[in-house]
């Protein structure tokens, strides 16, 4: 729709367009922009959380936190968690989508069962896994001991590296269905002729996956990776409820650190400073990521 000069109609349309987006913008300003600005503003103060009274300290909170080992350590933990759980989600999600795309027995039941972890609440997921992990009555230890895999009960959540592995696995279990949903939907729209053509060219199943399926999935994967990366990076409930950041600070990611500063130490200014830095980190990653994927797409 190339156009040189805006017609009256088009101008009226753009007005209508603005009108339609107005509620969104309004809500955004009220519930997101305002709190965001408050957060940035608060990060310049030293603030006692329950009163939200405090004195201006300028950028000192930022200086303190960047100099603190705890920040860098939590950032590292956060990255390990994000990369670990995200890659499992993607790999397992694509694999499962491919399986569920085939004509297996009771396919829709299988699909429902696979998607179920995504639908239950984090609270439920944590409860169930804590019960599975239970040191005395947990079925997991019992089964593994029965199978001769281990001799003594494993401490899944209280020691390292078990705790990190457990958290990553539970995270992957909880969120991989999201990848399955999106990939499965995309798989259904890949034209069959593409596979026919590949088969005629003599491509085996593996070659077909890499030559046909993966390029077709690329677009959807780019979006999924970004969305999931953002969510995983700022995941709070799951880790907080599962390990509370322990043992010591081994699974204390940045959102947990923010929570601790804000509500255990009552340092709201510091907490918001952490959060602002967190946002900046994600922003940088996101911009780089979008750039990269855009240029590769030739957009």
């Amino acid at each position: 729709m190339a156009h040189t000069k805006q017609t009256l109609l088009e101008r009226r349309y753009s007005l209508l367009g603005l009108l339609l987006i107005a509620p969104t913008v309004l809500v955004f300003c009220a519930v997101i922009v305002y709190p965001l600005i408050s957060a940035i503003y608060l990060s310049l103060f030293s603030i006692y959380t329950p009163t939200l009274d405090g004195e201006w300290v300028g950028l000192q909170n930022y200086a303190t936190l960047l100099a603190k080992g705890e920040f860098w350590y939590s950032l590292r933990t956060n990255l390990i968690w994000t990369v670990g759980t995200l890659s499992l989600q993607i790999v397992f999600g694509i694999g499962m989508a491919l399986v569920l795309h085939q004509n297996i027995w009771f396919r829709s039941l299988a699909r429902s069962l696979i998607l179920f972890p995504y639908f239950i609440s984090t609270v439920v997921a944590v409860l169930v896994w804590k019960w599975l992990f239970n040191d005395l009555y947990g079925i997991l230890n019992h089964l593994m001991m029965g199978a001769g895999l281990i001799e003594f009960p494993i401490d899944y959540l209280g020691s390292m590296p078990n705790a990190m592995v457990s958290v990553i696995l539970v995270g992957a279990w909880k969120y991989f269905p999201f990848v399955v949903i999106a990939v499965l939907a995309r798989l259904q729209t890949i034209p069959g002729q593409l596979y026919e053509a590949a088969r005629i060219d003599g491509a085996g199943p593996i070659a077909r996956f890499f030559d046909v399926t993966l390029p077709q999935l690329r677009e959807v994967l780019v979006v999924i990776v970004m969305l999931r990366a953002i969510w995983d990076f700022k995941e709070f409930d799951l880790i907080f409820l599962l390990t509370g950041g322990g043992p010591v600070t081994s699974t204390q990611t940045l959102p947990l650190l923010v929570y601790k500063e804000a509500f255990s130490l009552n340092q709201m200014g510091m907490a918001t400073a952490y959060a602002v830095i967190m946002m900046l980190i994600m922003l940088v990653f996101m911009v780089l990521y979008i750039r990269r994927t855009r240029t590769e797409d030739g957009l």
Binding site: L18, V31, A110, S121, L132, Q188, D237
Partner: protein
């Protein structure tokens, strides 16, 4: 060939059952009497079945109230968010005005906000509006994370609807909004349903906002209600917890069973576009 097929099926189902094992274990635990839980080694199938935990939840605790709250809360959030986001997405995709691209990018940016930071300013705002401790306050809070998500999803669905359809209607003399109502909405329905489902799930499962923003049983949703009621420092009753977990998950599973096809087909229709 058939042997390969059977082997593949067995392989597929082994994985499916492993993924679903926690669901199975949740069900089994919820019908075991408390005394059997502390058996070592644990019994795989319950030796005696009991539904007393479900009964206790329904009769002795505030479970039903929390449940009702959650239903109202999630439905209201879904309704509001999807309505706003549909209009917004329509505008973003089909209209041209300055700042459109920036706006779309800003939407994504709001994704980046960790909820932990938004809580206190948001809480002050809600108190200022006189809404503290109400379900409505949670609806507003949930909008912060549900709206960007819904807008983003719907935008990609909308982009998948061929523009020709709308143009044809316009040529036939339909008004722009008329065309939206008659042409776009029906086309968008699968997308709307799957967005609604996702929004519903997000709000049904949220924990942190509910923990901080609401402290009255009359507005408390299931997530914090159950944690508060059953995870206490003086007792952990696993079978009761598992019964509660089952009942918390059932509505979503039912809704999902009905809407499953929309979920995947909706996603496919537009492809998820960046």
């Amino acid at each position: 060939m058939t042997i390969r097929k059977i082997a593949f099926n067995l392989f597929a189902w082994t994985i499916v059952l492993m993924v679903a094992f926690p669901l199975f274990w949740m069900l089994v635990t919820s019908v075991k009497p408390q005394s059997e839980l502390f058996r070592r080694p644990p019994t795989i199938m319950p030796e005696s079945w009991t539904f007393e935990h479900y009964w206790r939840l329904l009769s002795d605790t505030g479970f039903l109230r929390y449940f009702t709250n959650s239903v109202i809360l999630s439905s209201a959030t879904t309704l509001i968010v999807v309505a706003i986001a549909t209009l917004g997405a329509y505008s973003l995709v089909r209209y041209r005005y300055r700042g459109r691209e920036t706006l779309a990018f800003l939407v994504l940016f709001t994704y980046l906000l960790p909820s932990v930071v938004l809580i206190l300013p948001l809480y002050l705002l809600l108190v200022g509006l006189g809404l503290s401790n109400t379900i409505l306050s949670l609806v507003i809070a949930y909008t912060t994370f549900a709206l960007p998500y819904a807008l983003w999803l719907l935008r990609s669905f909308m982009a998948g609807i061929p523009e020709d359809l709308e143009s044809a209607a316009l040529v036939d003399g339909a008004s722009r909004l008329g065309a939206f109502w008659d042409i776009i909405l029906p086309q968008l329905l699968p997308g709307i349903i799957s967005t609604a489902l996702f929004t519903f799930i997000l709000s049904w499962n949220e924990y942190l906002y509910a923990l901080v923003l609401v402290n009255s049983d009359s507005a408390r949703p299931l997530t914090t209600g159950v944690m508060n009621m059953l995870i206490t420092s003086f007792n952990i009753e696993w079978s009761l917890l598992m019964a509660a977990s089952v009942m918390m998950s059932v509505p979503l599973i039912i809704a999902f069973a009905f809407l499953q096809s929309y979920l995947t087909s909706g996603f496919g229709a537009g492809g998820v576009k960046g």
